[in-house]
């Protein structure tokens, strides 16, 4: 598996408790690593701060979706019932935002939801079916009850031996090397 031709992907450290990975994440953050991540079976409360992540920008996608939805709804109804084929029904006005509101409201929510979902996929670069992490058998436990931390080889501060020492001695973790094909 570890042939000479394969490129190193990074170092994978395994932890047994939420507290251990939490502490290791703070150490990594303070050590100034940038290309690294923790992998946990559930979101750990406070981990974003422990890793020093900025706030997720998903909300902007939601907002753009909602804005589009509302104005699509209003414009569509105005175009259909007032502009393209005006037809008086029950003596009511051809267009008012009042009767167009419920449909526009639903369109706002619909497109906000799509914006949120696809925004999240876009930011997370999902779907992504190839991942060097999946080649490690232990990593399967990351969706069960183990916690992993991976520092990638592309990180400017990465050096196989130095980083390995950092992870084993400072963070007290079992460490394995990951490779790409």
């Amino acid at each position: 598996m570890n042939s000479n031709r394969s490129k190193p992907h990074g170092l994978l450290a395994e932890f047994h408790t939420a507290a251990d990975i939490f502490e290791a994440a703070m150490r990594c953050r303070d050590a100034g690593f940038t290309k690294w991540d923790v992998y946990t079976p559930f979101p750990i409360h406070g981990m974003d701060e422990a890793m020093g992540l900025r706030k997720s920008p998903v909300g902007w996608f939601t907002f753009c979706g909602g804005f589009t939805g509302f104005f699509t709804g209003m414009t569509m109804i105005w175009y259909m019932n007032k502009f393209d084929y005006p037809l008086v029904v029950g003596g009511k006005p051809l267009f008012t935002p009042l009767y167009a509101f419920p449909v526009s409201y639903e369109m706002t929510i619909l497109l906000s939801a799509f914006g949120t979902l696809f925004g999240m996929f876009f930011l997370n670069q999902l779907p992504k079916f190839y991942n060097p992490l999946f080649k490690n058998e232990r990593f399967k436990k990351s969706t069960d009850d183990r916690f992993f931390l991976c520092i990638e080889a592309t990180d400017p501060k990465f050096g196989t031996d130095v980083t390995r020492t950092f992870l084993t001695e400072k963070c007290h973790a079992a460490v394995v090397e990951l490779v790409e094909d």
Binding site: D37, H45, S56, V103, E106, L117, T143, D144
Partner: protein, 476 residues
């Protein structure tokens, strides 16, 4: 950064013993136990009872589809509805099913925003119920149009011009309803799927079979549990919860507009939107309990769906059931206080007219039965709760029947009075819709995790890096 200072502050704020909350998962189960218990349900072969249940459900579903084929090929005359009750069983069933869905969204979205952590044990199954109920609901309004191709083709429901270049008429609440229900179905599905992604990854990592690994792998999208992903994921989940909350309130409000915007006595009331929403939540929690009480004991999930969950859901039944009972009373008060003789007649006719039996079935199921839940002993007796939940389901079906049929069968002119009786096709189509619902639910149990694995883990003490069970050491 002063990370150690932060940890010290967290440690200092530990609550006194009497304020420590009871753990949501009983018997101090480990994270691995939770994975095995939940994923095990859909990995092991289904128990014996599943097969007869599935066969009966599929039979019901096929009955419904055959009767729909009969309806479409023959005409709406095969149903019992006719002038003056042009809406009857079909719309009753529609409102009944769409209402059931509301509990799923309430649990998944509203309780999430209110930080009610107990929801994690029940939200997955409740959301599945929502989606399947919306699927059942959609069938009735679509097929009550009879020549259904005119409804689905452009011009009537879809925003596209018909053969005469006329567009749909957006002043009508019926069209609002099309948008509300289809948005509701879609957003519920998206929300459910987002919640499923991490759990599908768990199943992918555990599965042995080629087919299972392929499909769980495909639908889990390559999820790794990366915290950079969780960060966006949690924000997206929160936003979807925030979007679903106004959505779920709007859906049954708009369904109630179908009635309230008309000028039919018994329908033309402003109390309808809140009354319908409360009724929907009441009926939905009834159905959640009907499904989850057997599920938790058949699959030995009592440590995750605990008696406390049953207790809390009964409290919701009590609260919403009281609102519904209040609304029934208030309708009568307004009918008298409003001074319209037609309105007053409509209500007298509901309680004492030819459909008196449906009114009193509704009252005994919806007004009386939830009040047993003032007593904790009854709220935690699962057999009793299950029986009451069935009564709630029955009562809420009757509520819609009462609103729709008794208001329509006698309005202003006695010359246009009538009496609706369902045909066998009406009855069997409704029975068959339970077949569709149960088929989908049984398949859900067979292939997907019935409880949100990652969310349940997230509320255990083991998940908390500042809790001793999460590995926190005392000294910092």
């Amino acid at each position: 950064m002063a990370s150690s200072g932060k940890s010290a502050a967290v440690k200092a704020s530990e609550p006194p013993a009497e304020l420590v909350r009871e753990s949501l998962v009983l018997n101090n189960r480990s994270l691995g136990w939770i994975t095995n218990a939940i994923a095990g349900v859909c990995e092991k072969p289904m128990p014996i009872w599943w097969w007869p249940a599935f066969i009966v459900s599929v039979g019901g579903m096929l009955t419904m589809f055959s009767l729909i084929a009969y309806l479409v090929s023959t005409g709406v005359g095969v149903w019992g509805l006719n002038h003056p009750a042009a809406w009857a069983w079909d719309i009753t069933n529609f409102v009944f099913w769409i209402g059931i869905g509301h509990a799923g969204t309430l649990i998944s979205a509203v309780l999430f925003l209110l930080r009610q952590k107990w929801r994690t044990s029940v939200n997955r199954a409740a959301e599945a119920m929502t989606i399947f109920a919306v699927a059942c609901a959609g069938i009735f309004p679509v097929f009550h149009t009879g020549r259904v191709w005119f409804a689905l083709l452009p011009g009537y429901l879809l925003p596209a011009p018909n053969a005469n270049a006329i567009w749909p008429q957006f002043r009508s609440p019926l069209l609002w309803d099309v948008f509300a229900v289809s948005t509701y179905g879609t957003v519920s599905l998206l929300f459910w799927y987002v919640g499923l992604i991490p759990d599908l990854a768990t199943l992918r990592d555990r599965s042995k079979g080629v087919m299972r690994r392929f499909f769980y792998g495909l639908f889990s999208l390559g999820w790794t549990g990366s915290n950079r992903h969780w960060s966006n994921y949690e924000k997206a989940y929160l936003l979807l919860a925030g979007l679903s909350t106004p959505l779920v309130l709007s859906v049954h409000s708009i369904v109630s507009f179908d009635f309230a915007v008309s000028v039919v006595p018994g329908w033309h009331t402003t109390i309808f939107p809140p009354y319908f929403v409360a009724g929907a939540i009441f009926s939905g929690f009834g159905m959640v309990l009907t499904l989850l009480i057997p599920l938790r004991s058949l699959f030995k999930l009592e440590d995750i769906v605990t008696l406390r969950h049953v207790d809390l859901m009964c409290k919701v039944l009590l609260a919403t059931g009281s609102i519904v009972g209040y609304a029934y009373g208030m309708e009568f008060f307004i009918a008298w206080y409003g001074g319209s003789p037609y309105e007053l007649y409509a209500f007298k006719n509901r309680a004492f007219g030819p459909y008196w039996w449906s009114y009193w079935a509704m009252i005994s199921c919806n007004v009386i039965s939830p009040h047993f839940f003032w007593f904790k002993k009854l709220r935690t007796s699962v057999v009793f709760v299950w029986i009451v939940s069935i009564f709630v389901n029955i009562g809420m079906w009757f509520e819609r029947f009462v609103i729709i049929v008794t208001s329509l069968h006698r309005d202003y002119l006695p010359s246009s009075w009538g009496y609706f009786t369902p045909s066998w096709v009406d009855i069997m189509t409704f029975v068959g819709s339970f077949g569709l619902f149960m088929t989908l639910f049984l398949l859900f149990i067979r292939f997907l995790p019935v409880i949100a694995i990652s969310e349940v883990k997230g509320v255990t003490p083991q998940a908390d890096p500042h809790h001793p069970l999460g590995g926190a050491k005392g000294h910092h």
